[in-house]
């Protein structure tokens, strides 16, 4: 197992290398002078020269790349062109809200969706099944901002149970952190509940036709044990895949939710950087997103080996 983990981490290195090369070339291969792109439209010649020097643009390409990677490995992602803050620090501030929301959303979604999917499959073809599937279609179709504003209207403005928007770090106490997490989590989890419930139901239906489920029933054990111990564990692999990729998407791509609830997360940072052509930040975000996907995929594969003893590497 440990050997497998090390091998997988080792195998991720070339992937990250290719991504790094791409990110590096992104700026260099864009038509025109990278320094001019970086400096923006109203740059003075002195400023251009300073940027050239700081990026080492006068050096050969390969030397530039090595220098850049070296800095990268030391945690130096450059400086934002807009705020003049180190990119590393900017991202650092945004990571907590994003990860918090992604985690809470995926946890809520799994807690609600997996039982729904199991019950739908168990009661396949009955009104319960059709009801769950109907909910799922609804979850897919209603945009997240509609759900978000509805929730704010009802629970924050009318009932005044929770704050309207914003984010508090967990280091300032769990209470304020938690009450601000509730609405965005609910809004976001809608579509994930729909997705995971559907996936669970489909995987369960596949497995329920298997011989070993019949064997389990022939043993005279109760239906709950048949469903949980025999069916669900075998149906888990595709479900875990959806949960994993869903989680990766959540960290980097919840701009709308962040905007609706005014949460300073990674999604908005990315959008702002793209709009302002803040290249160092964009580069860092591409690297970070790739890293998240690589790590999540690694975790999914590890989960496979834990769930299914037949999968060996």
């Amino acid at each position: 197992m440990l050997g497998y983990l090390l091998r997988r981490i080792f195998a991720a290195v070339p992937v990250m290398g290719v991504v790094a090369l791409f990110v590096f070339l992104l700026l260099r291969l864009t038509p025109g002078d990278p320094a001019a792109i970086l400096a923006g439209d109203n740059a003075t010649p002195e400023r251009l020269e300073r940027i050239r020097a700081s990026l080492g643009l006068n050096e050969p390409l390969i030397v530039q790349f090595i220098t850049w990677v070296n800095k990268l490995l030391h945690g130096d992602l450059g400086t934002s062109l807009i705020s003049n803050l180190p990119v590393m620090k900017m991202i650092g501030q945004r990571v907590e809200p994003s990860i918090s929301i992604a985690l809470s959303t995926i946890i809520l979604a799994v807690i609600v969706a997996v039982p729904l999917g199991v019950i739908a499959a168990w009661k396949h073809g009955t009104w319960i099944d059709r009801f769950v599937m109907g909910l799922s279609v609804l979850g897919f179709s209603v945009p997240v901002f509609v759900v978000g504003y509805l929730l704010i209207e009802v629970f924050a403005i009318d009932l005044r149970w929770v704050p309207v928007q914003g984010f508090r770090s967990i280091s300032n106490g769990f209470g304020p952190f938690f009450e601000r997490m509730i609405l965005p989590t609910c809004a976001l989890s809608f579509i994930y509940i729909a997705l995971i419930a559907r996936m669970t139901r489909a995987a369960m239906l596949d497995v329920l036709g298997e011989d070993y489920v019949r064997t389990a029933r022939a043993k005279g054990i109760n239906e709950v044990a048949v469903m949980m111990r025999h069916a669900l564990r075998n149906a888990a692999v595709p479900v875990i895949t959806v949960i994993g990729t869903g989680f990766a998407l959540l960290i980097s791509g919840v701009v709308v939710t962040e905007s609706v609830f005014n949460i300073p997360g990674i999604g908005r940072l990315t959008v702002d950087a793209v709009l302002a052509r803040d290249y160092p930040v964009i580069q860092a975000m591409i690297l970070l997103t790739s890293l998240i996907y690589v790590v999540v995929n690694l975790l999914i594969d590890v989960a496979y080996t834990l769930l299914d003893p037949r999968i060996r590497y």
Partner: protein, 566 residues
């Protein structure tokens, strides 16, 4: 230990008739769907199984054997198949009206079941010991230690080696035979009164089959279990049955003690079923011929290499220096158990896979190392028929197009190819107008005829039949074998016949090659190898063939036949 070969003396039937039956199925009707007018899958059958008795329920596919057993267990798919009349009583208790809860209590404690496919009947993600443990946890109050002791004891009773290790193993670590032993241990751990075995040895090799049959019988003797044994294989019936019930299309055709049914079947259907069982005694040898050799394999080997990221890869030798020759108009059989490499050899010869080393000469031309492009003109000289006719024909292409595709690829005009397809369909005993129909409109036997017609469309010198009759019922199997024989006589084609079934091999082959672990163990004329085997492995294979002592087609034991001719 009982060799399991000789026919058993009938047990004292008088006594078992006096006791109450363990299982009493009376006038059972099972229909499709909930509507009152659904077709009847089971149409009024009555069966009794007594303590210490094995009742074999025989019949061809679709006769309703499995539905009968699933009805008893209460495991019919809900809503699709519904018992609509009659009764099923287990030790006097009605099962059809029992609640789900009561049925759950009865399962494993009073009635238990083992299934056909040991490969899929166990949960792949739970260690087998825990799967047995589940039965004890659901039905007893024993503590963990007592449960484990009981399980290990049961695992020893089903003669599993190293029980502690196997207890903690996952199913994929065990062989098919070991998994079936686990299933049996699971079924019998609470000593149920009734054991239902649904084709429990059909998916196993003959040598394993023999062990499992002996095991079931020994355990039955020790525990006094009533066994309802479902099978399509008359050989197995002869090995294990006390009484036989023959089913056809949901009805009971005939029932009686084993000897009576095998010797004096009263119904036409039973007679036909028995007559269709191929004899283990090889057919009379055909005279040697001086016809030209059409197919030769020389030191043919296939090695699979597993590449590893780190360290050394694993090597699996699937075929090891196999040499064989086949003359025009003759049939060569390759026999062996699963994993013996027989199909690998066939596939190498047809070049569906590339051999690692060695040569294949087809009509004098070496084809093992030429490129796929150069191989093209030679492909038509060798054609293959696969095991499963349900999957080997494209379901969305008409039968005619399937047959004509080959000739069209070799430049024959569409009209001519279709004309030829009609002729071929008639040759294999199907109407010529079948060309415009689709595979699903035909039965398994008819589809296999179509597959043969497709293979013949290119006028091959060699026809390779890879387990071509294994998926068919015996009566259909007999017809297809007859067809192959007839085609060979008419066209002078050479046949390479791959099978695990020694009975089939005995009836169609001139020469046989016996394979084990990728190697040829023994080869020679079928009459010689299958009656006077020189190698221990061949002998073991023959001895394991179920019903070896019985000449089904002549309704007598083999020994009496020998006595009659002597």
């Amino acid at each position: 230990m009982d060799s399991g070969l000789a026919l058993r003396a009938p047990r004292n039937d008088e006594r078992s008739c006096m006791t109450n039956p363990v299982l009493d199925i009376n006038n059972l009707v099972v229909s499709i769907g909930k509507k009152p007018k659904g077709a009847n899958i089971i149409d009024g059958i009555s069966i009794q199984v007594h303590e210490r008795e094995t009742l074999c329920l025989v019949g061809e596919s679709g006769s309703g054997k499995s539905v009968t057993s699933l009805t008893t267990m209460g495991l019919l798919p809900k809503g699709t198949l519904v018992p609509t009349a009659g009764s099923v009583k287990l030790v006097g208790e009605e099962l059809l009206t029992a609640t789900d809860r009561r049925l759950r209590q009865l399962r494993a404690t009073q009635m238990a079941m083992i299934f056909q496919e040991p490969m899929t009947a166990l949960n792949p993600v739970v260690p087998v010991g825990r799967q047995i443990d589940e039965v004890l946890r659901a039905h007893t109050d024993l503590d963990a230690k007592a449960r484990k002791k009981r399980i290990l004891d049961m695992m020893e009773q089903v003669r599993l080696p190293q029980v502690e290790r196997i207890f903690a193993s996952y199913p994929h670590r065990l062989s098919g035979g070991q998994r079936q032993r686990i299933m049996i241990a699971m079924a019998l751990v609470l000593e149920p009164k009734l054991l239902i075995a649904d084709e429990p040895t059909t998916a196993l090799d003959v040598t394993t089959q023999k062990q499992i049959l002996t095991l079931i019988r020994d355990l039955q003797r020790d525990h006094g279990t009533a066994v309802l044994f479902i099978t399509h294989d008359m050989g197995v019936v002869a090995e294990i049955a006390d009484r036989v019930a023959v089913m056809r299309q949901g009805r009971l055709v005939e029932t009686g003690p084993l000897e009576t049914v095998l010797r004096n079947p009263t119904m036409e259907y039973t007679r036909n079923l028995l007559s269709a069982v191929p004899s283990l005694v090889p057919r009379a040898a055909r005279p040697e011929t001086k016809e030209p050799v059409v197919l030769e394999a020389n030191d043919l080997s296939k090695v699979y290499k597993e590449r590893a990221f780190f360290g050394k890869g694993r090597e699996v030798v699937a075929a090891d220096k196999v040499t064989l020759t086949l003359r025009k108009g003759r049939t060569l059989g390759i026999v062996g158990e699963s994993g013996s490499g027989k199909s690998t050899v066939a596939r190498c010869i047809v070049r569906l896979i590339d051999p690692t080393s060695g040569g294949v000469r087809l009509s004098g031309r070496e084809i093992s190392d030429i490129s796929r492009r150069l191989l093209q003109p030679h492909r038509q000289k060798i054609q293959i028929v696969f095991q499963d006719p349900y999957r080997s024909l494209n379901p969305r292409v008409t039968v005619g197009e399937s047959i004509a595709e080959g000739p069209i690829n070799y430049g024959v005009s569409h009209a001519d190819a279709m004309k030829r397809a009609r002729e071929l369909l008639e040759l294999v005993g199907l109407p010529a107008d079948a060309v415009s129909r689709y595979p699903h409109q035909f039965s398994g036997g008819q589809r296999q005829r179509i597959a043969i017609a497709r293979a013949l469309a290119l006028d091959p010198d060699v026809l390779v039949a890879d387990e071509a009759v294994s998926a068919l019922d015996v009566s259909v199997q007999a017809q297809v074998l007859e067809l192959l024989d007839e085609i060979q006589k008419r066209l002078g084609i050479a046949i390479l016949f791959i099978t695990h079934d020694l009975r089939v091999a005995a009836q169609i082959c001139d020469e046989v090659v016996v394979m084990q672990h990728g190697r040829v163990v023994e080869q020679g004329p079928a009459a010689e190898v299958l009656t006077h085997p020189k190698e221990a492995y061949t002998r073991a294979l023959l001895e394991a063939a179920p019903g070896r002592g019985w000449d089904f087609a002549n309704f007598r034991p083999v020994s009496e036949g020998v006595a009659a001719t002597a």
